[in-house]
């Protein structure tokens, strides 16, 4: 058995999972209209408070030796190490890092950072974490667009299943940058208001930054936080278009179909990708209906956090684990009236419910999709 266990979320809503879960129960949003240093126009984005980061990182010497993403990742991984007592130097412990762009800010012309520019290479970035924590093994770096975080958890399960490792720390992170904002803007994919996943009036995504970490383990003694297993997980490709999802939800349908669901009445909810772009949400609704899961309630957490790219799959899995533990369905923020053609039921308020399991999905550029099934012991 493989368990999803100790974890941490650092986002605009706080520096721990507890702070984040409490904030969303209060319907606080990390996404806000913000004037960013590189532009005079305002963007609706989720930013981590720089002053808070400085305070949290102040116990470390020579903070200027680390980039922003490195600082956030160190704080997040350290929290999970502390909670779990895992020894990074252990032969059977691995770090998998999920990111789309890593230290992309080092590429900026006016970047004043003194760190070695070589750290824009994702493996070099991961080596900083290896050295900081003294991991025995070189970290595995996964960069698979917006499914990276969830796929990293699925890959962690596979490595543990094979007997190669007992504990895998999965950390996902991406920062808010002019690089990604300008790119998504050129696609006309950004919303200037907090995004509205699955809603009839959704117009696009908000970008957000976050770093999230979770321990995946086969050690039952470490399963305490949730006593929840990863039952199955797969990825699949639409084989349709590099920047648009399949109109018929082919890849996501394939993933959902492979999960081996035996009793869908026990599934409390589907934590969807739900970016709030017209095409993505439409595709997901169709895939969910095709997989015969229309009766399972659906939410998206992008209304709170925006799209946190490499962190999203990890962050949303962690909050779904909290939802399962607390037997509380999380409201899909920003949703008012259904605006997709596939038959789905979107969770429009916080509600108590008795349930055993949930499904997490993700989809991304390059036609990639992933889904995983989590279930209580």
């Amino acid at each position: 058995m493989i368990f999803a266990s100790y974890n941490n979320i650092i986002s605009g809503l706080g520096f721990s999972t507890d702070e984040n879960y409490k904030a969303i129960l209060n319907s606080e949003l990390a996404v806000k209209k913000t004037i960013l240093p590189f532009s005079t126009e305002s963007f609706c984005v989720a930013k981590i408070n720089e002053a808070d980061l400085k305070t949290h990182f102040s116990s470390f010497e020579n903070t200027e030796r680390y980039t922003k993403l490195e600082q956030l990742s160190i704080l997040s991984i350290q929290d999970v190490m502390k909670q779990s007592g895992i020894n990074p130097a252990d032969e059977k412990t691995l770090l998998i890092y999920s990111t789309t762009k890593g230290n992309i800010d080092l590429l900026e012309k006016n970047n004043a950072s003194h760190v070695d520019k070589n750290r824009m290479y994702l493996w070099s970035f991961a080596n900083v974490l290896k050295q900081h924590f003294n991991f025995k093994h070189t970290p595995i770096v996964l960069s698979n667009a917006c499914i990276s975080g969830l796929l990293a958890i699925i890959i962690a399960k596979r490595y543990i299943d094979s007997g190669a490792f007992n504990n895998v720390i999965v950390c996902g992170g991406d920062i808010l940058s002019e690089f990604t904002l300008s790119g998504f803007k050129s696609f006309n994919a950004l919303s200037n208001e907090p995004s509205k996943p699955f809603d009839a009036n959704r117009v696009g995504i908000n970008l957000g930054e976050a770093v999230s970490t979770i321990l995946i383990t086969n050690n039952k003694a470490l399963a305490k936080p949730y006593e929840t297993q990863i039952i199955s997980g797969f990825s699949a490709n639409d084989a349709n278009h590099i920047s648009g999802p399949s109109r018929t939800g082919d890849g996501l349908f394939q993933c959902l179909n492979q999960l081996g669901i035996t009793n869908k009445n026990k599934i409390g909810f589907i934590s969807a990708h739900g970016t709030a772009t017209p095409f993505n949400d439409e595709m997901e609704s169709i895939a969910i209906e095709r997989a015969n899961l229309s009766s399972v309630p659906v939410n998206s957490l992008k209304g709170y956090y925006g799209h946190t790219l490499g962190a999203a799959g990890v962050l949303e899995t962690i909050l779904s684990l909290e939802s399962l533990k607390n037997q509380t369905l999380i409201k899909s923020e920003g949703f008012e009236s259904l605006g997709v053609s596939g038959k789905i039921s979107v969770i429009d308020s916080f509600e108590k419910k008795s349930f055993d399991s949930f499904i997490k999905t993700a989809s991304g550029f390059g036609g990639c999709n992933a889904a995983a099934l989590f279930s209580k012991l």
Binding site: T100, I104, T138, F179, S235, H241, G364
Partner: protein, 211 residues
């Protein structure tokens, strides 16, 4: 039993398939010219090729050369075909192009056609689209061609639903480039054009070094 049935290696303006050179350009040919010549030598017409960034063109060609003359596409269940690609620089070459387009506020021209290639896994999407392959995806970033990573992970997915895989290394970084693609199947392929080597670290190291 997991077998490698074909492989292709592109470096130094030369393409080899299963260890034998099948195409080369003159030494001082630039990468875009070389890729264009190699594409012509394949004798296929695929308009999407011309929209790809250099790294995707390189990976696409290397895969086409590895597949050519095999029955890999016709004989495998493509929903169970995985694609696992690695490199060292992610999409850094195209990242620089996109960054350049936003560096100067008075000359600001970010383009979605460039931006989409700032994700390294787009090559996986391109290969999937070309052959209607819908199985597992993974793009890993490691300092060097990491035989352990690619062989171990391929074995893991072949134990978990997948029955065949396209695997390898595809990288363009400044003036350096290299692609190495190998095709793996779990069944016994009797096609006469296929080689037949067991998937393990030693064999992959050998065919990588000797081609």
């Amino acid at each position: 039993m997991n077998n490698i049935i074909s492989y292709a290696h592109i470096k130094n303006n030369s393409v080899s398939v299963n260890g034998t050179q099948v195409f080369c350009s003159e030494k001082n040919t630039t990468l875009p010219e070389f890729l264009s010549e190699a594409y012509k030598s394949l004798g296929i017409s695929y308009p999407k090729f011309h929209k790809m960034d250099l790294q995707c063109k390189l990976g696409f060609l290397c895969t086409e050369f590895a597949i050519k003359n095999t029955n890999f596409i016709s004989e495998n269940e493509l929903d169970k075909t995985a694609i696992v690609i690695c490199n060292s620089a992610s999409s850094l070459q195209t990242d620089k192009l996109h960054q350049h387009s936003i560096d100067d506020k008075t000359n600001y021209f970010p383009s979605p056609a460039v931006f989409v290639y700032t994700l390294p896994n787009i090559i996986i999407g391109e290969l999937a689209i070309k052959h209607k392959i819908t199985g597992e995806n993974a793009f890993f970033v490691s300092e060097k061609f990491d035989v352990n990573l690619i062989v171990n992970y391929t074995e893991l997915i072949l134990n978990d639903y997948a029955t065949s895989a396209i695997c390898g290394w595809v990288e363009v970084d400044e003036d350096a480039y290299e692609a190495f693609i190998f095709l793996v199947e779990t069944k016994n392929n009797t096609n006469k054009n296929t080689i037949f080597k067991p998937l393990n670290e030693l064999v992959v190291t050998q065919i990588y070094n000797q081609s």
